[in-house]
């Protein structure tokens, strides 16, 4: 195993090989030119997409139940398979075999597109995330901006679903989702920009590489310069804004089961519901992946392979969202907007300016 520092330096010096390139070499597609690259890219995207979908499948029907049960003194699924793991299969069969109810008066193309837009906007975001061990589909110069841009498309899906459902609860949920996403996306991106000031680049692999230098050593343990340690304030802000962005407690206002039934997804059933659900979990994981990349050194970590560390980190973020779900009450929509515009936005800009000054002073 390459030591942490050496690994980081290696990445900084030479651009690491991306997954499609590796596949081209591995499968001997080099002779096919552009066509070979496209085939390799599709296979690579298939692999990455399936990794994420598998994680979602574990998270949705099984891990979520188990985690919530642990928080609330219960046992949860334990009858089907070892630790109840086969409930994933049972749930998949159950959900997919249900009748797809199309209510009267729904706005057809929009109503059908919404559940597709939501998960795919999240899946697109994973294209630029370095997952360690060379698993990264693309590494454009504007990687970070791309991730935020595609993740934001989810709002469109939610509004489409809410508006096209021809249901008042859905409409309220859709409108709430837009108001919330706008209010929290700006602090989210501004906070991420403070990280960019440190790194001087939007390229994901370089952001990760910038965090590999040691910050300081305590009793022989080297603390790397992850931005969570360099700027914990920004980390906290990002974590919070991310909760709102993905619509989890205390900001699960677009769904708010006790108020507006299920918000924008009230009218969806069967496969469409699964897609919505999938999209939500993918968004949680995409949020986790962004947090891991921006603040937790990406796939870096001792002993275990990078990909394992990456998975551990995004699951840690998932655990955090579930913890918040079990323990924290929900805000009211007006309070949420107020916190977003009057609190988070001000704090994130303060953080940005402060970071800029500190970086400027160090550079000078």
């Amino acid at each position: 195993m390459v030591p942490l520092q050496a690994q980081g330096q290696g990445q900084a010096q030479a651009q690491p090989q991306l997954l499609p390139e590796t596949l081209v070499d591995l499968l001997g597609l080099g002779g096919f030119g552009v066509l070979g690259e496209i085939v390799a890219a599709l296979i690579a995207a298939f692999i990455v997409g399936n990794i994420m979908l598998t994680m979602t499948a574990v998270a949705g029907p099984w891990a979520k139940r188990k985690i919530t049960a642990a928080f609330t003194d219960r046992i949860a699924v334990n009858r089907v398979g070892p630790f109840g793991l086969l409930i994933i299969v049972a749930d998949a069969v159950r959900l997919l075999s249900k009748e797809l109810i199309v209510p009267e008066g729904v706005d057809r193309p929009a109503w059908d597109l919404a559940p597709i837009v939501l998960p795919f906007s999240a899946l697109l975001g994973f294209a630029v995330i370095p997952m360690g061990n060379g698993i990264q589909l693309a590494d454009p110069e504007t990687g970070l901006v791309f991730a935020f841009a595609v993740a934001s498309i989810a709002s469109l899906g939610v509004v489409m679903g809410g508006y096209a459902s021809n249901n008042k609860y859905s409409l309220l949920g859709g409108l709430r989702a837009v108001a919330q996403n706008i209010a929290y996306e700006i602090p989210l991106i501004v906070t991420a920009a403070s990280v960019v000031i440190f790194t001087g680049t939007l390229r994901m692999s370089e952001i990760v590489a910038a965090q590999s230098a040691p910050l300081f050593s305590v009793a022989g343990v080297t603390i790397p310069s992850w931005f969570a340690f360099v700027n914990p304030f920004a980390f906290a802000l990002f974590l919070l804004a991310n909760l709102a962005e993905i619509g989890r407690n205390p900001f699960d206002i677009p769904e708010a089961p006790t108020e507006i039934v299920a918000g924008y997804q009230t009218e969806y059933s069967s496969v469409y519901f699964v897609l919505f659900y999938l999209g939500e979990f993918l968004h949680i994981f995409l949020g986790g992946a962004l947090i891991a990349t921006l603040f937790l050194g990406g796939p870096a970590g001792p002993v275990l392979p990078g990909f394992v560390w990456f998975v551990i980190k995004i699951w840690a973020v998932f655990l955090f969202t579930q913890w918040a779900r079990s323990a924290v009450p929900r805000f009211r929509i007006d309070q949420l907007i107020e916190i977003g515009w009057k609190g988070m936005l001000v704090l994130s800009f303060a953080n940005l300016v402060l970071t800029a000054i500190i970086v400027g002073v160090i550079a000078a």
């Binding site: 609860y169 108020e259 079990s326 323990a327 309070q335």
Partner: protein, 554 residues
């Protein structure tokens, strides 16, 4: 003790009655003596005048209940009035109306709570109230034919109501055709936050509630009529368990026990009173635990830790109640004149179990306070939302934790003592906040007070000499209270004042059995609390009212 008191009370009542008769002057057509209060017979046209006088000059600010009934020769509405300051001072205003054309003046301008009570009277008995703002059926569907508690009601007549005659809840979109800014929305009857089958017709302006109207009656099970068909001694007692079925069973049973025992002059042995008191307070803890848990559920929005913790602690109370009564929900443990059986053997083990529960309770409550009342988000959500000022609460006849959360120091256990409460050392929990948070605090504090009461009861029961453990007094096999004897008695249930009116007709079954449900009156305050607030606050306010539809609809 129990022998002395009624005589004194009767004397007090007589002087009170004379004073009031002077106040009302020639509006009084005649006097009636109900067991609980003096009754004044007045003309149907004088209702508002008399009630205004009684409210403003004699201080009867609490319209506890409106009973309507039909006699062979007349209809009758009875307004049971009390004082929030002293509920032992009661008066009944009896309004007989014509058999052919039963029209009586509405009391709604005097007491807001009369709105629903008179609607119910109209719905079930058929008396019409002049000047009532909105005299529609309340429990039965709009299309129902006949009034089920009137004497000539034909039970066999089929109630065929075609679908087109029902109002289509999907039809309306706005408050009215001109007003396109508002949105009409149905919360319920199937909705995650209505705690049963309640239908709230809401008009929203964006996220704000412009108007909300409760549509109840989905769980109407004719409890009053069923009680009228049962004999006093055994056949009625199982029903109260089914009114407020959220484990407040013993508290409900006590309402019937108290009314029937006072009606038939039955004494209850002191030992049985202590057992009753202990059981009732266990029920109150169980009920409040659920109230706190579901309220948190409404505010948190998911099955969260606090809900499961509350259920976990409620379970312990339920286990003790199961040991005591043999049932977990429908206890049927009280009997007229006592309780059905003594504490379970071995007694030490039973007491040990209760003590363990009480010992763990402070820690559990600490946890609740850490999780909910100490949480800034919950405070931001609940403080100053669902505001119910004390005078509004009084006008709506709010009782129980809803009234005490609005700073009204009113608790029948202390103010109109029954059972063993006046011998024990405990406090009434009152909060001045008037908001959702205050109601939550009241419930949590009441759990502490109930624990105090149970603790003292266990002390008493442990030292009770073995040969004096009388669980039931001698009660005749068949009870036939005197003809035309009337009584209205209330107890403090988990939700508030649960009152029962019984009129005897010399047989072994009541001629009229009327239930005054605290949830029914408390639910009426919802528009006052929610209008102008946000949808989430409407849900939180509904949760803080802690209604049980089984009791609202009966």
């Amino acid at each position: 003790m129990s022998l002395e008191q009624p005589r004194d009370a009767a004397a007090v009542e007589r002087t009170l009655g004379d004073e009031l008769e002077t106040l009302l002057g020639d509006r009084v057509l005649g006097r009636e003596e109900h067991v609980n209060a003096p009754g004044f017979v007045i003309r149907p046209g004088d209702v508002q005048d008399v009630l205004f006088r009684l409210r403003d000059e004699a201080g009867f600010d609490h319209l506890s209940c409106v009973t309507a009934q039909e006699y062979e020769d007349r209809y009758e509405s009875i307004y049971h009035l009390k004082k929030y300051a002293d509920p032992t001072q009661e008066v009944s205003v009896v309004v007989p109306t014509d058999k052919e054309n039963p029209v009586s003046q509405s009391a709604e301008p005097v007491y807001r709570t009369a709105d629903w009570h008179e609607r119910e009277a109209y719905d079930l008995v058929g008396i019409k109230y002049e000047g009532h703002p909105d005299l529609r059926r309340i429990l039965l569907p709009e299309t129902w034919q006949g009034h089920p508690l009137s004497l000539d009601y034909d039970q066999d007549r089929p109630q065929v109501v075609p679908l087109r005659e029902h109002a289509n809840p999907l039809h309306e979109d706005h408050a009215d055709e001109q007003d396109a800014d508002t949105m009409y929305i149905n919360v319920g009857p199937h909705h995650p936050a209505t705690h049963g089958v309640l239908h709230l017709k809401c008009i929203l302006d964006g996220e704000q509630v412009v108007d909300v109207e409760s549509d109840i009656g989905y769980l109407h099970r004719c409890e009053e009529q069923m009680a009228q068909q049962g004999t006093y001694r055994y056949q009625i007692m199982p029903y109260p368990d089914r009114w407020d079925y959220i484990s407040a069973g013993l508290l409900n049973e006590w309402a019937y026990a108290r009314a029937a025992e006072d009606l038939a002059d039955i004494d209850v042995p002191e030992y049985a009173q202590v057992v009753r008191t202990m059981g009732a307070e266990l029920c109150r803890i169980a009920a409040h635990m659920l109230a706190v848990g579901t309220f948190a559920l409404d505010v948190y929005g998911d099955f969260t830790a606090i809900f499961m913790y509350a259920i976990r602690d409620r379970e312990k109370a339920q286990n003790i109640l199961e040991d005591l009564t043999g049932q977990r929900l429908m206890f049927n443990y009280f009997r007229l004149g006592g309780v059905v059986w003594d504490l379970p053997e071995p007694r030490e083990e039973f007491f040990e179990k209760i003590r363990d529960f009480l010992d763990d309770l402070p820690e559990a409550l600490e946890e609740y306070h850490d999780l909910i009342t100490g949480n800034e988000i919950l405070q931001a959500r609940t403080i100053d939302t669902g505001v119910l000022p004390p005078d509004v609460a009084k006008s709506y006849g709010a009782t129980g934790p809803v009234a005490r959360g609005s700073g009204i120091d009113y608790d029948l256990r202390r103010d109109d003592p029954y059972g063993y409460y006046d011998e024990l050392d405990w406090d009434v929990a009152v909060e001045d906040g008037c908001d959702n948070f205050a109601r939550l605090l009241v419930r949590l504090r009441e759990v502490e007070e109930s624990a105090k009461i149970i603790d003292q009861c266990v002390d008493l029961l442990e030292d009770w000499p073995e040969d004096e453990r009388t669980i039931q007094s001698n009660v005749p096999r068949t009870l036939r209270p005197d003809d035309d004897k009337e009584i209205y008695r209330a107890v403090e249930s988990a939700k508030g004042e649960l009152g029962i009116y019984i009129r005897a007709d010399g047989t072994d079954k009541p001629a009229r059995f009327k239930i005054r449900s605290p949830c029914f009156s408390n639910l009426q305050t919802l528009p006052e609390m929610s209008n102008g607030e946000y949808v989430p606050d409407l849900i939180a306010s509904l949760g803080s009212l802690d209604i049980v539809l089984g009791e609202v609809d009966r």
